[in-house]
Symmetry: C2
Subunit: 201 residues, 2 copies
């Protein structure tokens, strides 16, 4: 019997994807579940909902609560927190790098590194030097990955993955899909998604 | 030393307010926390955000996830679930009754009864007969309360409470406020709000 798989969909600019990405690997390992990482772009999905920026910017009171909530959450998890400026960041470059690393062992650590740089250290994830550094720390061949990320093949792949997300009914991030097609939305639902995957096995 | 107080803000038509209301009293009692119930109307607050109905109706994929998520959640909590039709229901009458019962011992059980009737039994909460029945079951003098609910005084009070909610930065329901002014939004944050209230004591 092979391990159940949970698909983890996220945008590197998504606030609650930060705690989800920092937590998922340890929780999944404990539960005997394999995680597939899908970096995608929330922008086109938000656009289809009529939003030209993050809903946390559009709806001010909601945004205010989210930043405070994320701060409380990170304190409780013992992970660093800094509000990124600007928000949202342009997540195109790290998303392409994550796609380029889909079959690589460094991919999960790279994803955590991007989130940590942005939400933990206040660094800009659209800066190739920041991303190169994160790649190196994750044990990836930084220059090779950055070159791959700039190819039409990877650019097209990210567009396809993003369209796939929309087609699956994903409307926000993080989102989790179990193999029997259950969608769980939000960092709050990570445990529920893993428990479902385990039961459905 | 008096018990800490948590203010519980909800709209009877709000989906995630259902599990929150069914859970809050037992959790608060265990934690030695007193709950103040504030029924308010989400409608004017949604309107200020540009929405003329529930965002779960406006954003279809989000709505689809919410219904499934609520169904899973209720199953896990062991509480009944039926999707109300229409949605959202008009929650004006039960909100006015809850306000009329602010100082009464039957208020919490009345609130649970309204949510149960709507989301557990698929009944209409804008039906005075349904509300009368829920009042009676909660040990309230149904006719007296319904008469009070129809007075200008109670109507005005509900409008004032709703304006207060907006002024406090409440943008959705359920919402929880601790005495030191921390806002927690969502059924998912109930435990965090109670824990915060306990620590802040």
């Amino acid at each position: 019997m092979s391990n159940p798989v949970v698909d983890f969909w996220f945008d590197f600019a998504s606030t609650y994807s930060y705690p989800a990405c920092m937590r998922i690997e340890a929780l999944a390992t404990d539960a005997g579940i394999a995680i597939r990482y899908h970096a995608f772009m929330l922008g086109p999905i938000f656009k289809a909902q009529g939003w030209n920026t993050s809903p946390f910017n559009i709806y001010e009171a909601k945004g205010r609560h989210m930043w405070r909530d994320l701060e409380r959450l990170c304190a409780e998890l013992g992970i660093p927190f800094q509000q990124p400026d600007p928000f949202p960041q342009n997540s195109l470059l790290p998303a392409r790098c994550a796609i380029a690393g889909s079959a690589e062992v460094w991919q999960p650590e790279f994803c955590r590194g991007v989130f940590r740089a942005q939400f933990g250290e206040g660094r800009r994830i659209d800066d190739p030097q920041v991303i190169a550094e994160v790649l190196e720390r994750a044990g990836a061949p930084a220059q090779t990955v950055l070159e791959q990320a700039a190819t039409d093949q990877i650019k097209l792949k990210l567009r396809t993955v993003t369209e796939e997300a929309g087609g699956l009914g994903i409307f926000g991030a993080p989102s989790f899909f179990t193999e029997d097609g259950e969608l769980f939305w939000g960092n709050d639902r990570l445990e529920a998604a893993l428990a479902w995957a385990k039961r459905a096995q």
